[in-house]
Subunit: 514 residues, 2 copies
């Protein structure tokens, strides 16, 4: 059999059975092999940023990697922004990048590019398959790399002749090492710190934000008095009633510094030291007090859940601790959009066991507190700051979990990076309600300009303004086959959202914000 | 003054006075300085592939670089595909990429990426500005690099503190070296080859496709009997009545090999040896006969026009040679779309002195011959194979040449990579008629699959098919503020195109193809 077929059989044997694709000529043998080999679900994205964003959302929910199929260097480059987000979320992913046949490469044909250099900039593992007898083993190694804790981006570059030549055999799946345990000395140190009752916080990320991780973290907090916070960006977090009501570290530097003031100990559980999203003149990069001690309980690739459970036992925490009140029960409010009002409405309306994909930028920042007591749900957030993530992330999550409603919160400026994902939702009849925050401006930049002490002028107003003309999201959505409605009050939104939630299939709601 | 202001003043002093931008937080001081410094026209693109594609189209027509303003690594990455096209067209461009403040970088904040690695993969010149006292000189060096023949991609990475710190001064423009002359021995060799009257072809690219280059090339061909061809992809070519009717080397390998069969000499004038776009099993990479001698008359950075003019004199060509007949005069035809029928219609309808931006893929391949006798026009083509180029290229060309009509030929599958450019056309009220070839499939891939000896199956049909649902380009265009019309016959197209050409401002015509 040829290399392409052996690679596909290898991926399937390694339990990679979903492929998000935007193929080109150099991938034709791979595509042709997909026609012959059953067992791989293929989903078309109309641009590579959709393909990689879908694969990110899929893997965050499926707990295993999807494959992507991408075309040469420039095609791969189009997918880098969402690979960057995926890398920051520790999402496992296997990219198969078709490239020129080895004998054609020296001629520097128009599509020839530094594919390997581009791949290295954003992948944890990169290999260019050297010959047809290696390609299956390379594929198995790519899946192994992707699945290694905490989850990695593996990119396999496949020269066309490696795909089309005969003489390959599928390779068996390679073993994936289990998450490493936290060393006993580390556990003992953190236990001693927490027993001191000095002001302490546990900063949670990755596995610590799973249902089991949060349950154990809450027991630790109960027994020790330590505070709990999620990192500012959460890749995948279990939320809603019955889950620990943990807020994120705030995004604005000043607010975050205030939130962490007075702490003596910062315990990192799969998280990095709290850091500002950007550096600013005369503001700190690190958000915790300079004299606070930093303790790494678990690195991202270590077993954070086991470490938290050990700590809970060691501190004598009860098996089940009373849930902190998550503030007043959410209630529907009416009137014009405000981030806080909208968040309250969503606290009431989020469907049971839905998946939320969020890239709401300024409009989405207030969403966390009022949705702590919403119905149980999973939260997937843009993690790397590359905007336009929610549309494709929601799309991939819906492929992974066809029986769950997906709610997508997408800011309008960011959404213009990836609106093509709506077409994939229509094509695959995915159960996604897309909410676009149409404030018709890069509002975050207005704030950032003021933060640097400047006043907006002619040029900056032009560069931040998304009106003149207004984007019409109803037409854009319908143009890609997704039914859409425009609302401009919270009560109208609630009506439309309820009706969209009661049906299956993709919908879009443009929330027009003044 | 701060580094940002010094950099902007330096760019303007170096005659870079147009900036295509999609800024983020790390560019706020640059944006704020744009508010204070007059003389830089800023144009917003709603995704970075639009920004870089616009800068490409602008520079091809303006003959000088635009600046781009891009945000950190992932933002730059979003622009790589059209930087790749620009690099292949030898387009001069100065990218300013904001990045984290130097003191913030070690903390690996979410947007931290290998910006320099990404930039190197697609730029001829890369520098990360190290301090505020260097930034203006770095800017002047970037413009110098961009303007050095044959035109280069220069990327200047600007850490935020380099932009906001005080103590900078603008730098004067640096001298740009003139194009190097072709060596006398080379000229003599090629003259001897052409005098032999053995079958020879001149392959033209870059400067050789300018009006002066084509005039000289035609004199050489007249005096020597050599054939003339443009490279398969042309960055910028003068065409239409009064210009030499030179066809491109065909795209399909078999057709190209046939077209070049029997040649003994291939003379490269700013062009590379004719090479297949892709490598295929059992097909050659090089398209000319293996025993043909390859002669480099001018490298891309050399003065090809002077070399051609010297040759014409040396060969005793008359100053003005009779124009070869360009085939029968084009005439309007009617009925359903065919590439040939559409090309004839455009041979009649192309407006006088218009600019054509073309990324028509299969629907656009027949456009060249019948438009040789159209009204004089300039042709800008996707050069690097990264699709979705025509929408932003047309947009940038219209900024460069506000008094000329721009006609954009965009295939639908490719157009979904960059439809956001339509909004910039609406915002800037640009005089562009966009024609979308809506065949609702990646038709080229159907052909490529057959070419590898496979038959389309369930998966490949799914991955090549852009229907289910059909994209509605009228709604997509109107959603971005550009008036749009759908046609499905050549006669209806001609009517709508004539009316669109008679007005100013952006329009879109969806040509629905069965």
């Amino acid at each position: 059999m040829n290399g392409a077929e052996a690679l596909i059989r290898t991926l399937i044997a390694s339990e990679v059975d979903t492929c998000f694709a935007n193929p080109g000529t150099s991938e034709m043998h791979f595509v042709s092999a997909l026609d012959r080999v059953p067992g791989m679900r293929c989903v078309l994205g109309l641009a590579e940023t959709i393909v990689t964003g879908c694969a990110d959302g899929y893997a965050r929910m499926a707990g295993k990697p999807a494959a992507t199929l991408l075309h040469c260097g420039p095609g791969f480059a189009n997918g880098i922004a969402n690979l960057h987000n995926a890398r920051r979320a520790f999402t496992p992913m296997v990219n198969v990048v078709g490239d020129h046949a080895t004998f054609h490469r020296p001629y520097d044909a128009p599509l020839t590019a530094d594919t390997e250099g581009l791949a290295r900039a954003v992948s944890n593992w990169v290999r260019t398959s050297g010959s047809v007898v290696q390609v299956a083993n390379d594929g198995a190694a790519a899946v192994q790399a992707a699945r290694s804790a905490p989850g990695q981006i593996a990119t396999l570059i496949l020269p066309a002749d490696t795909a089309w030549s005969e003489g390959a055999e599928p390779a068996p799946a390679l073993a994936v090492p289990a998450r490493g345990p936290v060393a006993p000395e580390t556990l003992a140190t953190v236990a001693r710190v927490l027993r001191s009752r000095e002001p302490a916080i546990l900063v949670l990320s990755g596995q610590a934000l799973s249902e089991a991780g949060l349950r154990a973290a809450q027991r630790v907090a109960y027994a020790s008095g330590a505070a709990l916070r999620a990192s500012t960006q959460v890749g995948h977090m279990a939320r809603g009633r019955g889950r620990a009501p943990v807020d994120r570290i705030p995004y604005p530097v000043d607010v975050a510094v205030k939130a962490l003031a007075g702490l003596r100990h910062v315990v990192l559980v799969g998280a990095k030291p709290p850091t500002g999203f950007f550096g600013y003149p005369d503001k700190p990069s690190l958000l915790a007090p300079p004299d606070a001690a930093m303790h790494v309980l678990a690195r991202p690739e270590q077993d954070a859940v086991a470490a938290l459970e050990w700590l809970a036992e060691e501190l004598g925490a009860p098996q089940s601790v009373p849930m902190e009140p998550a503030g007043p029960a959410p209630e529907l409010v009416s009137g014009r959009f405000s981030p806080e009002g909208f968040a309250k409405v969503m606290g009431v309306l989020l469907p049971e066991h839905c998946i939320v994909a969020e890239d709401g930028v300024t409009s989405g920042r207030a969403l966390f507190p009022p949705t702590m007591s919403a119905a149980p749900h999973d939260w997937l957030q843009v993690t790397g700051g590359a905007i336009g993530h929610a549309f494709p992330c929601a799309t991939g999550a819906a492929i992974a979990c066809p029986d769950r409603k997906v709610v997508c919160f997408q800011a309008d400026g960011a959404g213009m990076y990836s609106l093509q994902a709506l077409w994939t939702q229509a094509r695959e009849k995915l159960d996604v309600v897309n909410v676009v925050f149409a404030n018709r401006t890069y509002r975050i930049l207005h704030g950032e300009l003021l933060a640097v002490g400047a006043r907006p002028g002619r040029v900056s107003n032009d560069l931040f303004d998304l009106s003149r003309p207004d984007l019409d999201w109803v037409k854009l959505s319908e143009g890609m086959g997704v039914e859409a409605t425009r609302v401009d009050t919270l009560e109208a939104f609630a009506d439309v959202f309820r009706s969209a939630s009661a049906q299956r299939g993709p919908r879009l709601i443009e929330f027009r914000i003044d």
